[in-house]
């Protein structure tokens, strides 16, 4: 047999270039996925509410509360600091509901979350990790605080953040098909699942589902799912293949029967 060296060279070159491009793509993806950057944050130290609210009449506190300064401070970061602020505001307003739900509650849930996770910003797994460690303290604190209002206050803030962070993680998983093979994502998913803010175990692609059910020998489910999800055209094609196959078998059997 004569070897066509020209063809062999071209084939080898094509294969080599294709493999190089695939590996290069993998390296670039790995580079951006393995080392996510932590989101930048502005913190200007603690804020002393007794100073900030000096001279303000109690019924104007809600309107004149230094919300932005509070969100830029580190007060929210420490549970004991928040507790001091709660005690101080209670002494001024005398209405625990207003202090906990309308004032600090609103700030530490929706407002703070919008500040840290503005819509449209790329989701950063490191930021979720850090906020998860921060918010877990609120749950522990809610268990030991003897005041029923404080229990609900800290538990509610914990619940709000856990839910919103888990939704961010789900969103990240939906936007990154390879997320479930990323250790950082899987670690965070397990943490949220363990705390019962379930993010599930990711969505399987059709090919992954077929492989999974084949490995588990779950043929009945595989057939049913394929049948249910197939379009009418796919069903017609499948039926035609089946009919042709059966027809061929029938012809072969008839041929052998007659030849005897």
């Amino acid at each position: 047999m004569k070897i066509n060296y020209k063809l062999l060279f071209l084939t080898t070159l094509t294969l080599f270039v294709s493999m190089f491009l695939i590996i290069l793509n993998g390296i670039l993806k790995e580079g951006t996925g393995a080392l996510p950057q932590e989101a930048n944050e502005v913190r200007l130290g603690t804020i002393d509410l007794s100073n900030e609210l000096k001279g303000i009449a109690p019924d104007s506190i809600i309107n004149k509360f230094p919300a932005q300064a509070y969100l830029n401070s580190t007060n929210y970061y420490s549970v004991s600091e928040i507790n001091n602020d709660l005690t101080y505001l209670d002494s001024l307003l005398k209405d625990k509901y207003i202090v906990r739900e309308e004032l600090l509650g609103e700030l530490l849930t929706k407002k703070l979350f919008e500040k840290k996770y503005p819509s449209g910003r790329e989701i950063n797994l490191d930021s979720i990790s850090i906020d998860l460690q921060w918010i877990e303290k609120f749950n522990a604190y809610s268990e030991v605080d003897p005041m029923p209002e404080n229990k609900i206050f800290f538990k509610a803030i914990y619940g709000y953040w856990m839910k919103e962070l888990s939704l961010k993680l789900i969103e990240y998983g939906k936007g990154n098909n390879d997320a479930k093979y990323n250790f950082h994502y899987r670690f965070l998913s397990e943490k949220f699942n363990e705390k019962r803010f379930n993010v599930g175990d990711g969505k399987d692609s059709t090919v992954e589902k077929v492989i999974k059910y084949s490995l588990e020998s779950n043929w009945a489910h595989l057939f049913k799912s394929s049948w249910d999800q197939a379009s009418i055209i796919q069903l017609i094609i499948l039926s035609s293949i089946l009919i042709i196959t059966l027809f061929c078998y029938a012809i072969t059997i008839i041929y052998f029967t007659k030849s005897k």
């Binding site: 609900i152 839910k163 019962r196 379930n198 489910h221």
Partner: protein
Amino acid sequence: MTKHSLLLIALTFVSKIAFAQYQPNQAEFGIFQFEKEKYGVVKMSNKNNSLKVKYFAFKYNNKTISKRYHEWQLNKNIICFSSAAYMDGPNEKIAKPKGLCIDQGRIINNNLIKGELDGLVMVYPSGKMAVHNLKNGSIQYDKGDGKQSKVDPSNIFQMTRFIEWAKEQEITIFQTHLFYHKNQNLIVQSNGKLAARRFLAVGKDETGELKYYIINAKQRLTLSAAAEKTVRYLRSFENLSSIEYLINLDTGGQDIFSVNDNTGRKTNYPELKGETEINLAVNLIVFSVD
């Protein structure tokens, strides 16, 4: 084996056949032809509050749902059971019910889903069941002692109080699609995938009696088309004067459905059974009578 144990087995067998698990006026089942399609239907009456609902959301003390169910049902008169809430992932070994879920006071999933699964189902330890519409700004629920309380699902502080109360009272909660609530049609037209469907409906008949229905449609329909057909069936075939609620029961990742006849034996009609065995259950809703 001793004579006594043989006698005991024989007596158990005879009693199982001789004594009915439920009376015809408490529950009946059948296969009905409606709009050229067959439906498997279980009809249950809640006269004298005899109908009891139980929901298993997750494994407990290392016991699977199947094991929990089999241990629990020993002294119960079971009518039927079905998978109920959707799974939050494809792997049934680790999947949990999608949306807020509490299993007899134990949190299974804290994540309340708004805008999609609008049916909040509450099952009380007494076996009573209620369905609330999450789209309503305020949910008015029975605290179990006859007192009514309100909760706004969008208020995290009120929801936290509600969940803490549910944990204390050992309430069971799950979420699913809601298509009808207090006679209000909530069906949203969709071009979703075609699949077999199952619904739980509760409504009043012409005499004003509250009836529970499980309607199992084997034919492949979109969710909205199947819900609309079910409503037509309930209105015209069952002559319901009002529909309290109509919710979806999962037939996707888990398609568990089984109906017992009044001797306690499992029926074998294809229209009255699911495709998945109970040992793969991710969650289960069970109906029984006192």
